[in-house]
């Protein structure tokens, strides 16, 4: 049954035959279609999943982390607030369409006006929605330029915590991979679907915003759902064991969603939203691979196989940071990654991470240009990221094998209600 097209699938689903969550519910829950076997089975399982674009929170945060990422940051090039608003509206329309597997524009990618380019670039034709989510964020530069210019009349509405992240020890940031006025996080279980999403949004943006940098990611390195197993990063260790998951409503409320209490009249637009921290963390792969297993486990603080804390137990057991071994030294070393990242050493704060592995070819020295594209959603970067990263940059034993080379901070507004658009509260 190779003849089931994207359009046909959606037609079926719309008629109630499928069970796709086609933007009809507010809750970000997935529904398998049961049609996977007729849809490019070579693309893997779960491809028929669709997540609603509309809802109280944007999709792509608590959504079970998909396998692939295309993250993009944009510079806004227009000086017109109306044009910016129109673009965000058009982005929302296109994003809603693409997340349910439809083309970005009204036109069909392969028919219609023969003398005009198609509205949609077409590489996602025949592919199911693949669990695509599109999450849009606003950088500090959208509100105010470095010299204080109020570009779009938004300066008074900039939350105090939305500013460029400070310089952390050992940062080696590349401006060409950092910052941006807007960001788009596109996650999907098929990389082509994620790339398609950003490409079509960039096309809509021409004349209003231009791509500043982008990052492809594969192999999610975090677990955002209790149903997912913990994946591994490029160091071969399980990553995201203690992450906040979609099922932990209390933790989400406490650590991820910006509560009303954190806002005032000018920043109320962000209530129900979050902050997105993006860090491109290069791993020095080759030296790591020449490191003894003892050293690898010591700097991480967990076993490589099971992912159990070095203080014992299994993966999901809490590390006992006080437990001492031979010579009275703690089993989880003072500079171990897990100790420095643990909530108990960070004033109890947690974050929701949904980072991805990346590989971008090789460096001029013939080494893998690879690492972790760290993405985390937090209630407030000033309390939930900056203090932790400051200490980790200085003390984490793993830093010997890491270099932070890209950085961005974005405010992620709440989701758009049915008929609304992302950011409408800010521009109201």
């Amino acid at each position: 049954m190779s003849g089931v097209s994207r359009r046909r699938l959606l037609g079926l689903a719309g008629a109630g035959a499928g069970g796709l969550a086609l933007g009809v519910g507010a809750a970000a829950t997935a529904a398998a279609t049961g049609l996977d076997d007729v849809l490019r089975p070579d693309r893997g399982a779960g491809d028929g999943t669709a997540y609603p674009f509309h809802g109280p929170h944007q999709a792509g945060i608590t959504t079970p982390a998909q396998d692939h990422l295309h993250f993009a940051a944009f510079d806004v090039t227009t000086t017109s607030r109306d044009d910016l608003v129109a673009m965000l509206q058009a982005w929302s329309v296109a994003a809603e369409r693409m997340t349910r597997g439809a083309p970005a524009g009204e036109g069909d990618p392969a028919s219609g006006a023969y003398d005009a380019p198609p509205d949609d670039t077409g590489e996602a034709m025949d592919l199911p929605p693949a669990g695509l989510t599109i999450t849009i964020g606003f950088g500090p530069g959208l509100f105010q330029t470095a010299d204080g210019t109020d570009r779009f009349g938004l300066a008074a509405r900039r939350p105090a915590s939305l500013e460029r992240l400070p310089h952390f020890p050992a940062d080696a940031l590349d401006p060409a991979r950092s910052d941006g006025d807007l960001c788009v996080q596109a996650c999907a279980d098929d990389p082509q679907v994620a790339v398609h999403a950003v490409r079509n949004l960039a096309r809509i943006a021409f004349g209003t915003a231009s791509l500043r940098w982008s990052q492809l990611g594969f192999g999610r390195t975090a677990t955002t759902s209790d149903e997912q197993v913990t994946p591994r990063n490029l160091f071969g260790f399980k990553d995201g064991t203690a992450n906040i998951t979609a099922q932990q409503d209390d933790a989400l409320a406490e650590h991820v969603w910006v509560p009303d209490a954190d806002t005032d009249a000018s920043t109320a637009w962000l209530a129900g939203g979050s902050y997105l921290v993006a860090r491109r963390i290069a791993m020095t792969i080759e030296p790591w691979d020449r490191t003894s297993l003892r050293e690898q486990e010591a700097v991480v603080g967990r076993t490589k196989g099971e992912g159990a804390p070095l203080s014992g137990g299994t993966e999901h057991d809490e590390p006992d940071l006080a437990m001492a071994g031979r010579g009275g030294l703690p089993l989880v070393a003072e500079n171990a990654h897990v100790r420095l990242a643990h909530p108990s050493t960070n004033g109890g704060v947690r974050m929701l991470r949904r980072g991805y592995n990346y590989t971008d070819g090789i460096t001029p020295l013939g080494r893998l240009d690879a690492g972790l594209f760290f993405l985390a959603f937090v209630r407030d970067p000033a309390t939930h990221y900056v203090p932790m990263q400051t200490r980790m940059s200085a003390q984490d034993g793993l830093m010997e094998y890491l270099q932070h080379v890209g950085s961005g901070l974005f405010a992620v507004p709440p989701g758009a209600p049915e008929g609304g658009w992302v950011g409408q509260q800010l521009f109201a």
Binding site: G11, L22, D83, F206
Partner: protein, 404 residues
Amino acid sequence: MNARPTAVRPALLRPVLLRPAARRAAAVPAALSLVLLAGCTDNSEGTGAGALAVDATDSSCEVSETEAPSGTLRFAVTNTGDEVTEFYLLAEDGLRIVGEVENIAPGLSRDLVVATPPGEYFTACKPGMVGDGIRAAFTVTDSGADLAPTGDEAVLVEEASTAYAAYVRDQTEQLLAKTQQFRDLYVAGSDDEARALYPDARLHWERIETVAESFGDLDPSMDAREADLAPGDEFTGWHRLEKDLWPAEAEAGYVGLDTAGRTEMADRLVADTQELYDRTRDMTFTADQIGNGSKGLLDEVATGKVTGEEEFFSHTDLWDFQGNVDGARVGFEGLEPLLRTKDEALADEIATRFDELQVLLDAQRSGDGYVLYTELDEAEVRGLSDAVNALSEPLSRLTSAVLA
């Protein structure tokens, strides 16, 4: 631009709500709710226009309905026969073509999307692409839909074509005159003056580059870049002389041409230019050639000029950039009256984006010309590139819009 005359083909246009121009022009909240409503209810995609299925075989032409309400109609034509076919919507007189879709091979489906006022029509399939076709009466009832005024399109197309042909003639005349001057200075060894004239003369080439490039024999002889040559290709034309006049970027050990070599190269360029001049005297242009030519000139900017690759030795890329933009703008402005009868918002957007790009180019003016490409910083190049992208997107819809 393709210099061969081809039939003007009505476009298969359907209204698209995501156009930036439409976004800009629309009263935003109302437009948005309209878009979102469509987005939420239309899971079958693209059937917002009245969709009519046409089954075309070698001996039949079955249209799913014999009647439709006025507005944008979409005929989804499937050729289930063995011969190549065409589909037409003909006016009441059975002669005037309201819309057509050509070259539908066996097994293929093509859409004809056409804005159709109330009236009596004929549908026709033409298996084998000969004869009057298999016709059937077709009625369009009055839905009250407000179709764009049509104007006298033939006159507007004629005016655009006449104006563009005149522009091409004028530019080749100036190109020929300046190339002859350039030749004389270069052969005489007046290098400073030759260098000053080089980008100025080439401006006229760049203004009609898509026309000039349509001559497959002249283009490589006149405008090949050294980096694009295959092993064994002869390096001649403008860029050969450019290298000789600006040897700083040439490979180590480069030896300049002597007077005989200079004379041979420059005379060849003049002869080629004369040939170009002769061939362009009686050229005619169709609306789609002009529209596609405008877009093509911006593609030239995007691939060669804004990257600084075109003038590798002299770095006078911004003159070429301006020439391409000039040519694109002339093409657009010729079609603009016609475009305005079809899509005001698109015309406004293209005009605005031309202006915005020109502001950036004007900022790089220096004396009678421009700064060298190597004097631009990264941010300036990026700004120009963004402006080219911003213009090229709406410009890519020009042809389709004027043919609609």
